[in-house]
Subunit: 469 residues, 3 copies
Amino acid sequence: MKPDTMTMTALDSKQDTVCIFGTGDFGRSLGLRLLHAGYNVVYGSRNPKNSALLPKGAKVMPHEEASRTARVIFVAIHRENYDFLASLSPALEGKVLVDISNNLKKHQYTESNAEYLSMLVPGALVVKAFNTISAWSLQSGGLDANRQVLICGNHVDAKQVVVDIAHSLGLNAVDRGSLRVASELEDLPLQLFPLWRLPLRISAGLLGAFFLYVLIRDVVYARVVDNKDNSFRIMVSLANKVFPMVALVMLALCYLPGIIAAFLQLYNGTKYRRFPDWLDHWMLCRKQLGLLALAFAFLHVLYTLVIPIRYFVFYKRANIYISLIKENKTYEFKEMWAWRSDAYLSTGMLGFALFVLLGITSLPSVSNSLNWREFRFIQSKLGYLALLLCTAHVFLYGWDNFLYMSAYKWCMPSSYMLSLVVPCIVLVFKTVLIMPCVDRTITRIRQGWERPGKAGMGKDAKNSQPLIL
Amino acid sequence: MKPDTMTMTALDSKQDTVCIFGTGDFGRSLGLRLLHAGYNVVYGSRNPKNSALLPKGAKVMPHEEASRTARVIFVAIHRENYDFLASLSPALEGKVLVDISNNLKKHQYTESNAEYLSMLVPGALVVKAFNTISAWSLQSGGLDANRQVLICGNHVDAKQVVVDIAHSLGLNAVDRGSLRVASELEDLPLQLFPLWRLPLRISAGLLGAFFLYVLIRDVVYARVVDNKDNSFRIMVSLANKVFPMVALVMLALCYLPGIIAAFLQLYNGTKYRRFPDWLDHWMLCRKQLGLLALAFAFLHVLYTLVIPIRYFVFYKRANIYISLIKENKTYEFKEMWAWRSDAYLSTGMLGFALFVLLGITSLPSVSNSLNWREFRFIQSKLGYLALLLCTAHVFLYGWDNFLYMSAYKWCMPSSYMLSLVVPCIVLVFKTVLIMPCVDRTITRIRQGWERPGKAGMGKDAKNSQPLIL
Amino acid sequence: MKPDTMTMTALDSKQDTVCIFGTGDFGRSLGLRLLHAGYNVVYGSRNPKNSALLPKGAKVMPHEEASRTARVIFVAIHRENYDFLASLSPALEGKVLVDISNNLKKHQYTESNAEYLSMLVPGALVVKAFNTISAWSLQSGGLDANRQVLICGNHVDAKQVVVDIAHSLGLNAVDRGSLRVASELEDLPLQLFPLWRLPLRISAGLLGAFFLYVLIRDVVYARVVDNKDNSFRIMVSLANKVFPMVALVMLALCYLPGIIAAFLQLYNGTKYRRFPDWLDHWMLCRKQLGLLALAFAFLHVLYTLVIPIRYFVFYKRANIYISLIKENKTYEFKEMWAWRSDAYLSTGMLGFALFVLLGITSLPSVSNSLNWREFRFIQSKLGYLALLLCTAHVFLYGWDNFLYMSAYKWCMPSSYMLSLVVPCIVLVFKTVLIMPCVDRTITRIRQGWERPGKAGMGKDAKNSQPLIL
């Protein structure tokens, strides 16, 4: 064979034929893209005559005939219409059937569509793939999130064929295991930030409650009692009171479930007892709580750094200078104030820097490159340090304000005091947990020890449940 | 068998032999690294005598003899010299041939080097690998980017052998599919930020144009008309006018192609019509446009926050205070100004925070963990919100300036007005698109519906083209 | 078969049986999780009677009997106790043995536990997996870092079975290659930031030394000579002197080893000569040095932006204004000062922005998406630009201070001068290296050329060593 002939053969081999059952939107989009990538495309259809909408260049045949032309068949039809495939079983024997279907809601059927398909056509090599790709993005091709084709199936060779097709279309293929994973893949496109819902609701609730509190205390009070209009302060000053409160409380809420869990284990005397569902759920969304807290902390930093640029601040400072001069005074230096201002700024900045570090290590690619000792060191040790610094930041900010009546307008304490409640609870109980005697017991329990006489895994079996997740 | 003997066997088995054809730089670097990892290395060479430059410990033999010593043979020679391998076919039967070659430019040959090699030696198991690793990094080993060995090939076992070798050398191996992907892998090392070129050029163009405009309006005008030297303002003040303009325009340019595409689809009455090439290309580099816009927004934030530290600002403020006192006035509080200043700061900060969020979700590891509904929600919904906030930020910054003549020096409007043109166009047309009647049509078209009487996919086939990417 | 029957079969097939040898903590945690995921779990034990602690629902049998019930057997026992498995060889023939063991320290044994197991039971298909998962996280399931199950083994099918189990448990499985990689996987959980140690020590050393220096020069000197108490300046002012110094020196230390390596190669006349160990180690942790430098630069930015909010600054400015007015002066505008202040702020901000860009491209997912040309362009070209900008930033900050005696209290130069030493050395030698004549030689050497008469790879072989990593 001469090189030139070889080259031709190579190009020919690219002209693989792919069959698509179904002429709906996804089938057509996929066909177009396959044609453009150099494949021959054959559609299987009940009415091969009625092919007006199919992409130019594709052939249309009855299902059985179409399935003979190709090794790979994309099943772009709804699960409800799978039944007729059983009658095609002989023609589909040994073919790679790619199930791309999705359901309308989670757990719609007892088994995944792909497993159902593989039962209908036992002789076919069923691969689940492409269901996480949208028809629209298959065409426009631009968005990154859609580049990833998740694949599962029981036959390595069959998966390899689908991986190749995905690559030909400019997509990345990720093998996720056997067909058993299919139901997980089918649930993927249905969810919209499942783990973010609770944290988002908590932050919205805190944001609303704190804002209302601050509004009443700072604006309504000034209007009613002092007859002063402070409403312009809402945009920046009030926001910059609410954001750090939400951030601090949510950061503390990240660490609270771990502490509750530890005390539960201490009380139960074993770790092999299931936590209540709410605690499980809370623990699962700690990362999301933390990231939202970081977002609010970031806003707090921005809103704070912008202070000297604000017109209101410029005005206030100007008048301080002017009145000082009019009264012929110099501005007296109080060293204690310098210490205090620098101390609360420092703790705040260091706490924020640690917080950013925690956020960075939460990035999937970074946390995957850490082993669990490293990850735990950062998220637990440094996390508590961040919480400690931020709590100190608020205490130093408040200083001795709590001693003066002016901090309790209408019996409402200053807003910053409110935000200290949860963090202080967390820090106090954490201090209890790291005391040597308690720590030793917890460590033993987490290594599998069970307190005698307490309900263990074996005894009192009626109450104990398999654990978590 | 006693454990001790077993241990010896295990260590022996590490002494696998690897053969390398070619004694060039890459061959020698690879050999050194393999030797260091505990492999026996045998070089295949035409002049086995002339082996002065080869690493100590490696053997050199004629090609045929060398190929008999090992199961794996690295082909570290140029494609132009592959021909002689055809004559070695019998000796290479069943061997794993690792093609590590690269070309000098893209699409130099009709088929990839690896596919060519597999045609020359049909009996060998050809694997494409290591071509994305540089010889220099193979030796120095430090840089992360080089840790990833992309591998493709048609034989699973052969790929596994190469994966193992990569791991032994401390590298990560990533299986990219069958040999068909080889041409893609061969193009990889040749590119330098292909998708960044257009966005970088656009940003450079905008930067230059806006800078010139601002320079003329602020510095040249002051010099010519007021005979004042403002040139010191170039470094920070002018930069801080240009950066936000570029950021805003580029953010709007991210969303413009999507709007053009929607109107094109409305006009065509179908989504199965190819977009013009320029629009395709534009859509593909939206992410890069957005990230550059974020970079400029980040600079704008830094340059803004630094304002109160600048000497010039300190000077200006000092003189305002001094003149106020000399004229025996107090600085009058204008509540409207407080609202305005706080409003434009707030919108700016919230817009920037959303912008940062968009940037974070553009990180590959983050966007891969989102499904397309989630990604779309963030990049589209939150993206438009960011654009809206940033546009509002500029409007509030400008306030009623546009009403005064002083905003039109030499008939040139204030710079901020210029930056509003593209965002306003985008927002207006987006408003049109989300009106219920238009939105319904667009949605139907994107679900595959085609307007009757318009050129569809099937009819008028001469004009329609397979779609995109 | 009717669909309903099929569904039942599918559910039944989920009821796979998994066997676990060992009833320690990990065995029990794994068993609980497997039970919860729908598996039948059978424990192999010496005392099947004594099963009080095992999870409810699991069966317990003698080892041999237990191994017959399942295809997959998790070996959750210590390596020291593996010996008895050899006697079970016939029963384990063809079974998938999952080795999950870890050692107490690195390189405890000559071969990995998994390889040892595979020698003891040659007929079994040994897979190394789950050792990077902690028992605690297997139960609580929440933390991201523990989601990744690293797997290696010589049998593709056996690995697939384990991948499936990992997925069933909600974990991600990553195939890392053949059993040869096992020792690497066994070392993983033992390490705690190995590459971060040197950089952390360097930064701690620099931080301490510079802080002491600044403390003596600014606080102690003021106390002793001027009898002034400056100690409140420690928290912010002094920190903000030390952070940028550490950041700049550490950034320069990232680039110093590359320069030393280049000069070594020039001196040796070859690149095929091993670097000294300290240089190798230094080069390997450049990324970590750079990221720590970025952290300090970030703190410097925060501490700088916070300046105008500080009480001390407010006080100082107030008194400047007051004294100006008292002396009936206006604050005179010095254009040179405006240039200087703006110039050092600009270089600082641009340098920091570039620095952040370098940090972002160091994220694993970003650097993996770059080829080595792109990565090198950013890390080398843009890195040197960042270093140049930051060095210029410090020079502009210092301005002509070095000319005045006040900059040398107690013969100690201003702190900023200290931080310039290393960066200047790096920049000067880099300038030498990019001069055409030197650059040409370096390039040739890096392409494999060796200077005649110098000790090459072949000649003088006693001194030359296989290279690096």
